[in-house]
C-alpha cells in the first residue's frame, strides 16, 4: 500500500491536469451542443473529414453524433498521451533521477515496487475517466441532453483499457531503454503514429486492415456512444496490457539500474 500511495502522490499533478483537462473539454463540448445543434443539423461534413475521425455521414442534430465527432475523436489520443507520459516517467524517471537507489535499498522486492507503481497507473486512469465522465454528466443534466447518463459514463470508461494498453507499452519500453527520455520519445511517437494509422485506414478500403494493429481501433471511439464498447475489443486491450506489463516486470526485475544502455537482454535474463 505504501508504494501505491506514493505512486498516486507522484502522479497527482498529471492526473489532476489530465482529469481536469478532459473533464473541462467534455463539459465545453456538451455545453456547445444546444447552440450548434441547429447549425450542425443541416451541415454536411466532407466524407474524408468524417472518415478520418472514424465517423460516417451522421445526423449532427443527434447529440451522440456531435459528441462522437467533436469529443470521442480526440479524447482517446489525449488520454493515451497521459498513459505514455505517466508510465515512462514512473520507474524510469525515478531511476534517472537516482531516487530508485534509495527506494530499492530498502527490503522491498522489485516486483512489489513494480506492481504498486502499476496499480497507481491503473488508479490514475480510472480517476481521469471519472473526471471525464463528470465533465460530461453535469452539463448534460443541466441542458437535459438526450443521451442516457450511463451511455456517457460508459463512453468515458471505455477509454480505460486504451490507457492501460498504452501504459503497458510505456512500462515495457522504459524497462529496456537507457533513459526515460528515450522511452517517452519512442512510445509517444508510436502512439501518435498508430493513431494516425487508424485514422488514415478509415479513408481507404485498401488501408483498412492496418487499423487492426492500432489500439485506437479497439477503443471504439466512433461507435461507443451508439452501440457501447465491443467487449472483445476491450479484452484485446486489457490482454495487451497484461502481456506488456508482465514482460515489463520481467525486464525490470533483471534491469541494471542507471547503467545508461539498452537492456533488451533483461527480457530473457532470469534474475538470480
Amino acid at each position: 500500500m505504501a508504494v501505491l500511495r506514493h505512486t498516486l502522490f507522484s502522479l497527482r499533478w498529471q492526473v489532476l491536469s489530465y482529469g481536469v483537462g478532459v473533464g473541462l473539454y467534455a463539459a465545453l463540448i456538451v455545453s456547445l451542443f444546444p447552440m450548434l445543434e441547429d447549425t450542425f443539423a443541416d451541415l454536411e461534413m466532407p466524407e474524408g473529414y468524417l472518415a478520418f475521425f472514424g465517423s460516417e455521414q451522421l445526423d449532427f442534430g443527434d447529440p451522440r453524433a456531435f459528441l462522437t465527432t467533436e469529443l470521442m475523436s480526440l479524447v482517446p489520443l489525449i488520454v493515451a498521451i497521459y498513459a505514455v507520459v505517466a508510465s515512462t516517467a514512473l520507474l524510469a524517471g525515478d531511476e534517472q533521477r537516482g531516487a530508485l537507489d534509495l527506494v530499492l535499498a530498502q527490503p522491498l522486492s522489485r516486483r512489489r515496487l513494480f506492481l504498486g507503481r502499476t496499480g497507481g497507473l491503473v488508479a490514475g486512469a480510472l480517476l481521469i475517466a471519472t473526471a471525464g465522465a463528470i465533465g460530461l454528466l453535469i452539463p448534460a443534466l443541466i441542458i437535459d441532453l438526450d443521451v442516457p447518463a450511463f451511455v456517457l459514463v460508459r463512453a468515458m470508461f471505455s477509454l480505460v483499457p486504451l490507457m492501460l494498453a498504452c501504459a503497458g507499452l510505456g512500462l515495457l519500453v522504459a524497462a529496456v531503454t537507457p533513459s526515460r527520455g528515450v522511452a517517452g520519445g519512442l512510445v509517444a511517437a508510436e502512439t501518435v503514429t498508430v493513431w494516425l494509422l487508424n485514422s488514415v485506414s478509415n479513408l481507404n478500403d485498401t488501408l483498412e486492415p492496418l487499423h487492426f494493429v492500432s489500439p485506437f481501433y479497439y477503443a471504439d471511439g466512433p461507435t461507443v456512444l451508439f452501440d457501447g464498447p465491443v467487449l472483445w475489443h476491450a479484452a484485446v486491450l486489457i490482454g495487451a496490457f497484461v502481456l506488456l506489463t508482465a514482460l515489463a516486470l520481467r525486464a525490470f526485475e533483471a534491469r541494471e539500474l542507471s547503467a545508461g544502455r539498452w537492456q533488451l537482454r533483461a527480457l530473457t535474463t532470469r534474475n538470480a
Binding site: 505504501a2 508504494v3 506514493h6 507522484s10 533521477r97 537516482g98 531516487a99 537507489d101 534509495l102 527506494v103 530499492l104 535499498a105 530498502q106 527490503p107 522491498l108 522486492s109 533483471a254 541494471e256 539500474l257 542507471s258 547503467a259 544502455r261 534474475n271 538470480a272
Partner: protein, 320 residues
C-alpha cells in the same frame, strides 16, 4: 560469520572491465575503508552488494546471505548511502523518511513510539538538519545528511556508504566520523568508500586499496603507522663529519649536506638519539609516512603491482 565476503567478483560493460576478480572479506564489528581512484570499481562494488546491478561473474555474501538470490534479506540488514543521494524533491525531509520507513515495513508497531523514530530524531539533531524543509530546496550537504539519517536510523547491523562525508562541513564531517565509530563500538559494521584519506586513516580499522577493479592491498592504518618508516630532518650548528651516521642500526641516511641531514628510521629510535646527542642540534623535525603518501605510491603510473614494502619505499622516496 563475515559481515561481507566477496569472491572473484567481475563486472564488465562490454569491453570496459569495472571489476576484475575482486576478493574481499570484511569482519563484523569493524570499520572498513574502500580506497581507490575514480573508476577503480568502488561504486560498482557497492551497487552490486545492494543488487542494483548484477555481476558478470563471482558472488558476494552479506552476513551469510547471497546478495543476488537473497537480496531482500540482505537489504533488511543494510543501511545504504549512495554517492550523491537523490530523493523526491517535492517531499519534505520528514515525509521522505516516513515513506522510506513504510517501504521498509517499519511504520507503526505495538503502540509505542517506534525505535527508529527516536534514532531518526537523535541523528537529525546531531547532524543539525531541519526536517521540515522541502528536499528540493536542500543544499548538497543537507541532502547528504538526509541520506546519512536514512542509512542509520534503522540501526542496521551493516552500513554501506559511498563517500559518506562528501559535501559536509568539517564540523558535521567530524560528527559523522564519530557516529561511524560508535556504530562499530556497538558491534555494527561499517563499509565505506572515500577519497578523504585522513578520514579513512582516522576512522577505519582496515583499508582496502583498489586498482583497476582488484584489491591490491589491505592495510591496517594503526599497524601501518607503527611499521611505516619515520623520517628525521635534522639541522646542526656545525656540520657533523661525513659518515657520522653510518652503521647506526635501522637508520638510512637519505641525505647529508653540511649542517642538514635527512635520516630514515624503521625501528627503535634509541641509537639515533644517542648518536645525535654527540652534536649540537638546532632543529629536529620528524615526519611519518601518511596514508595519503602510501595511496599516491600505489597509483603512480608505473606502479603495476604493489606491496607494503614498495609502497613505503615510494612514499619515503617522494619526500626527498
Amino acid at each position: 560469520m563475515h559481515a561481507i565476503r566477496i569472491e572473484q567478483l567481475t563486472k564488465d560493460y562490454g569491453p570496459v572491465v569495472a571489476l576484475n576478480g575482486l576478493d574481499l572479506t570484511v569482519e563484523e564489528g569493524e570499520v572498513f575503508g574502500f580506497l581507490g581512484p575514480n573508476g577503480s570499481g568502488k561504486t560498482t562494488t557497492l551497487r552490486i552488494l545492494m543488487d542494483l546491478i548484477r555481476p558478470t561473474s563471482g558472488r558476494a555474501e552479506i552476513l551469510g546471505f547471497d546478495t543476488q538470490r537473497q537480496s531482500i534479506e540482505v537489504r533488511a540488514r543494510i543501511g545504504y548511502l549512495p554517492d550523491d543521494p537523490q530523493m523526491y524533491d517535492d517531499m519534505n525531509v520528514h515525509a521522505f523518511l516516513r515513506l522510506m520507513a513504510s517501504l521498509r515495513g517499519a511504520d507503526g508497531g505495538n503502540g509505542g513510539r517506534p525505535r527508529h523514530e527516536q534514532r531518526r530524531d537523535e541523528l537529525i539533531e546531531r547532524l543539525q538538519l531541519d526536517p521540515t524543509r522541502r528536499i528540493g530546496a536542500l543544499s548538497r550537504g543537507n541532502r547528504q545528511k538526509v541520506g546519512i539519517v536514512l542509512a542509520l536510523m534503522f540501526e542496521p547491523p551493516l552500513v554501506v556508504a559511498d563517500e559518506p562525508t562528501t559535501g559536509l562541513d568539517p564540523l558535521v564531517r567530524e560528527e559523522v566520523e564519530l557516529i561511524l565509530r560508535e556504530i562499530a563500538q556497538q558491534g555494527g559494521t561499517v563499509f565505506f568508500s572515500s577519497h578523504v584519506l585522513g578520514e579513512v586513516e582516522q576512522v577505519c580499522d582496515r583499508v582496502a586499496m583498489l586498482r583497476e577493479g582488484r584489491v591490491i592491498d589491505v592495510l591496517v592504518p594503526a599497524e601501518r603507522r607503527r611499521l611505516a618508516p619515520q623520517r628525521f630532518l635534522v639541522s646542526f650548528e656545525t656540520a657533523p663529519p661525513a659518515g657520522a651516521f653510518d652503521g647506526l642500526p635501522d637508520v638510512t641516511v637519505v641525505s647529508h649536506d653540511g649542517t642538514e641531514a635527512v635520516l630514515e628510521l624503521v625501528a627503535g629510535v634509541d641509537a639515533l638519539v644517542k648518536c645525535l646527542a654527540n652534536f649540537r642540534v638546532t632543529h629536529l623535525e620528524t615526519h611519518e609516512v601518511s596514508l595519503e603518501e602510501l595511496f599516491m605510491s600505489y597509483y603512480e603510473p608505473d606502479s603495476s603491482d604493489a606491496s607494503p614494502g614498495t609502497a613505503a619505499d615510494a612514499a619515503a622516496g617522494g619526500q626527498g
